[in-house]
Symmetry: D2
């Protein structure tokens, strides 16, 4: 039995982790906190009314260290790097859902997040928690940088091609569309119902902060410098990210060939499903699950590969992947706690 | 006063034309028909209850010819080309909202629409009704091929660049997202509320029938063969198309340069609005209007131009553009009939 | 030509008034203000980009008085009663969309709105702007209290029965469902997309502040004290109110009888449509219009009449009715400025 | 281990039962069928891709009898009563989700469903599966008539009051609002996305076929004849029913009193949650769960009690309640198989 803490249980990711762990037979949630909202968890999350006696309080590093073996940091970026050093010193294993430990360079962090990094020394210790690609390192890690939601959808779609046809790739365009929960549970004019409903738009065009994270992991896996062009859009749905990826690439003879590359690559993965060649993923087939569904298409004439991935941004894109990381770290079967 | 007919008034486009024309001071709708639904127009379109005494009946070429000077064909493809020849012989001016007269080659029609063309002789007579680019020809045309909804959003975004920087263009990717009314008013499992709501997906990836239409016009305007890669997606909204266009292109020095190209190009257009450089278009700002809003971005390092356009698929993408074409054909000011 | 001002043009109602008046041939908007947002109106309302050169500034009573003949107060309650006295003194005619002048008793105001009334002397001067019932008084009024959105939907449904079968009414239950724009354009956790989408709930059960307004007008028209039970609900749509009204009432022999009462009552009204007996109103048939659609049903066995009304809360429930009031005050035909 | 069959697995309720049972440790789904769609279940329900090897075929009573101990009939009304007699003869225990065995009178069935009942002899054998009220009978039943979705939301709200204050009740009005999945997975113009989205309406006003079912159970539990007035509405959401119930009733002194009646009544129920007095239920707190949340309000002056209930129509209103019934029949703990 692992004693687990959730710092930031009032946010979407923190709440989702809690809900998954209620169905997990090997862990017990022993500590939850939230800075702005205190009191019974069932008041924070009324869907849990009557199902838990957990209460949450202002974050306290001593209590958290005493009561937990492993702690999820479901906090905004800049907060995680203030909390992590003490917890790591206290020998706690951490899964950080913020962006604070994803980029290996403190300079990159400063240029994309607009603030200096406060804990650069742990950057090299952190393991990027993309389970399908860093499983071995995750197993023994003390600090997991849980991938960004957009990064997860993009990288799971790109990496099979990038790692097998590295030298053939000429350019990569990522056109991603996310539901509003991806922005977190914050009051903002552009997230009001009357603004989002019956609407759709691109934002942070070519400027989104997940771009360097994608570039970094992609280049590492591919073994050469690669840079993507990334444009996110805001969908009028609560959950889900659909990512359409355009790779100008030589050497893919046809759709069957591409399909074989992807099915072989992911054949043992419990949470990645390569769809039949004539199918395309849909948000509704992955929402509320930890699956990533992948669809494929090829234009041989234009040397263009189109890869489409669908994930639930709160599950495979955040809380689900975080729990999968925990399962790997604790040597539990990876699907433990996930229900259909 | 022009006497106007609408064939197919029970469909989304036909209904929308009717609503626009109620506010048009220079025309009178004298004839409406619908094959499957007869009776009072206010029963077909309950929002019009009490506002019109028009009734619709099965299509009758004699009545249509007798009662109208100009006729909108708001019918499915394959139907228009069965109706048009007789009406043209009767000297009626036609605006066809179907795909039947958009492609100049009957062979292309057959290969993309899966049926032989039934009226190839009028293909060369038809004028492609993209108002901003074929205004002069439209003025005297007898048969307008009103552009496809996706084609309109793509071409209005592409053409300023394609016509000014023709030789610098290396590749074009069009990632389009449309509301469900784009599919027409038909019973289909994939258009049911429970299927579309909280969902999103790509469909007809690299295979959509608007592709050859975009290629044809683009190549014509650019003066050299160009081919796009086009992927449409289905948005959980009723109206609107947002099109994100990625052009690999040399010679655009920066965003200011690009912005100047577009503002100069469209400066006299009543229905195209190039947004300030830091803005991106949103469906809610164009829905229920005939505007096309355009946003721009540039990655100089990657020689990539990103153009985003928003239109209401039923207005600028169908009925609105059709009425704009009528205004041009009849020498009315182009904004006549359009309200804010 | 009437010179018109809009105080509070950045809110939903203020913006909607502006959009209607762009199509109104007899008035000119000469003054607009908004307290928190200054600058070009086309920045506040991007759908108007390029269509107006109006700019808005902090409210200034001198400018407003100098530049306008008639002023819409599209401000929150408590603000209107601070602004109105000066403007009335300056002989301006006012249409107040807030709640400040709707209740005839300052005590009632205090008990339902939680604050003392600051301008009790004008309460008796204000005319309740329910056009269909107070048209004559409106014509010469200087201060219109534009009805609440819920009140409009409820009263238009109730009044024909209440005024013709007054003594037969035993009890009235009003179950209303409103889109989120009814709450105004404010930042609030319960109005976030992720909170409203795929959700539905009742709120302020039996406690909503429109209750005394409905009671007051109903009792006045009926000629005896009547009190309703009112429960509002929040719909996951942007616009529209559907109100289902249950009246326990004797003396309605059957549906035909009821239908005749209503059609006779409203037969000359331009904006109220009594539907055929077998039809029920839908939001989509009234949204973006000033219509109120009414459906009827009767259970003779249970002496129960069920009246259902649909309005667009921003149009007939706010801005549309306000403009209709202006048309009456200025002796313009009532439909002037309204388009289909 | 109970061997379970699902007839009609392609419908919403059948699919939902299947998904619940994947997480149920005591049963195995050994047989599934669907009349119109054959083949792999993972093709019917793409969210299950890779998670099940079940295949479905045309219904076969011999196979179903051989392979199952207990069978869910998730079929349209009129189909269940053609299937049930043979299965009952073969000693199978049945849970019928259709309306066929809910009404005790074959005449009532004919008058509300427009067809003669084909198996009147089993009407008296069937037990109405409202778990909270018929638990003892359910335990030993062979044929469960699983309650209608609207009936469940209404009865769970009404019964505590109706059984404790029977003689004080004067009249009951039920204003219910349901998501579209309540209508089943059928092609219908009024269920298209473009028709439902941004819309809301009442339908079958005072004429819905769940009315006699509510009356029958209510009268039985109350011990005297009671009749409700029932008006359903269609919400633009996929799942969930919110039911607002208005009971004119004497003898409820205040909200505390009412709250005590309800909390006492349901205190041992695993799936009914009476909310704190100042709270109202919301669809989002019960969707995807088997909970029924209840909110309360009282107008002492008007002798009016307002009870609001929220359920997921596919869970507590159909599949969830069906599985709860199975748990009772098989003496499993009632929450077995349900996850948070």
């Amino acid at each position: 039995m692992t004693r687990v803490g959730i710092v930031g249980v009032s946010g979407y990711s923190g709440g989702e982790i809690l809900k998954i762990l209620f169905n997990h037979p090997e862990v017990r949630v022993t500590y939850v906190s939230a800075n702005n909202t205190k009191g019974a968890v069932e008041t924070l999350w009324p869907s849990l009314k009557g199902q838990t006696s957990l209460t949450c309080d202002t974050y306290d590093p001593v209590k958290a260290s005493d009561q937990c073996d492993l702690i999820f940091l479901a906090v905004p970026h800049t907060v995680a790097m203030q909390i992590a050093p003490t917890l790591l010193k206290n020998k706690k294993r951490l899964i950080d859902l913020s962006a604070d430990y994803r980029l290996s360079s403190a300079d990159d962090y400063q240029s994309w997040y607009g603030q200096p990094h406060l804990d650069p020394e742990h950057l090299s210790v952190a393991v990027y928690g993309l389970c399908e690609f860093y499983r071995e390192k995750i197993r023994s890690a003390d600090l997991i940088a849980n991938p960004g939601c957009y990064s997860t959808g993009a990288l799971l779609g790109l990496l099979p091609l990038a790692s097998t046809h590295t030298d053939n790739i000429q350019s990569i365009i990522i056109d991603a569309k996310s539901g509003v929960s991806g922005a977190g549970k914050k009051l903002a004019a552009e997230l009001m119902f009357a603004q989002v409903n019956e609407n759709f738009k691109a934002y942070k065009v070519l400027k989104h902060q997940h771009t360097p994270e994608i570039d970094q992991v992609l280049s590492q896996i591919a073994g050469r410098e690669l840079a993507v062009s990334f444009v996110p859009h805001l969908l009028p749905v609560t959950r889900g990210i659909l990512t359409t990826i355009y790779v100008r690439c030589q050497g893919i003879s046809d759709l069957n060939h591409l399909h074989e590359v992807y099915t072989r690559f992911y054949k043992k993965e419990p949470f990645v499903r390569v769809l039949p060649s004539d199918n395309q993923p849909e948000l509704k087939n992955v929402n509320h699950s930890n699956f990533c569904d992948i669809g494929l298409a090829v234009s041989e004439k234009q040397n263009l590969v189109v890869i489409t991935t669908a994930i639930d941004n709160l599950m495979k894109g955040a809380a689900g992947q975080a729990v999968q990381n925990m399962n790997i770290m604790c040597h539990y079967p990876e699907k433990t706690g996930f229900v259909l």
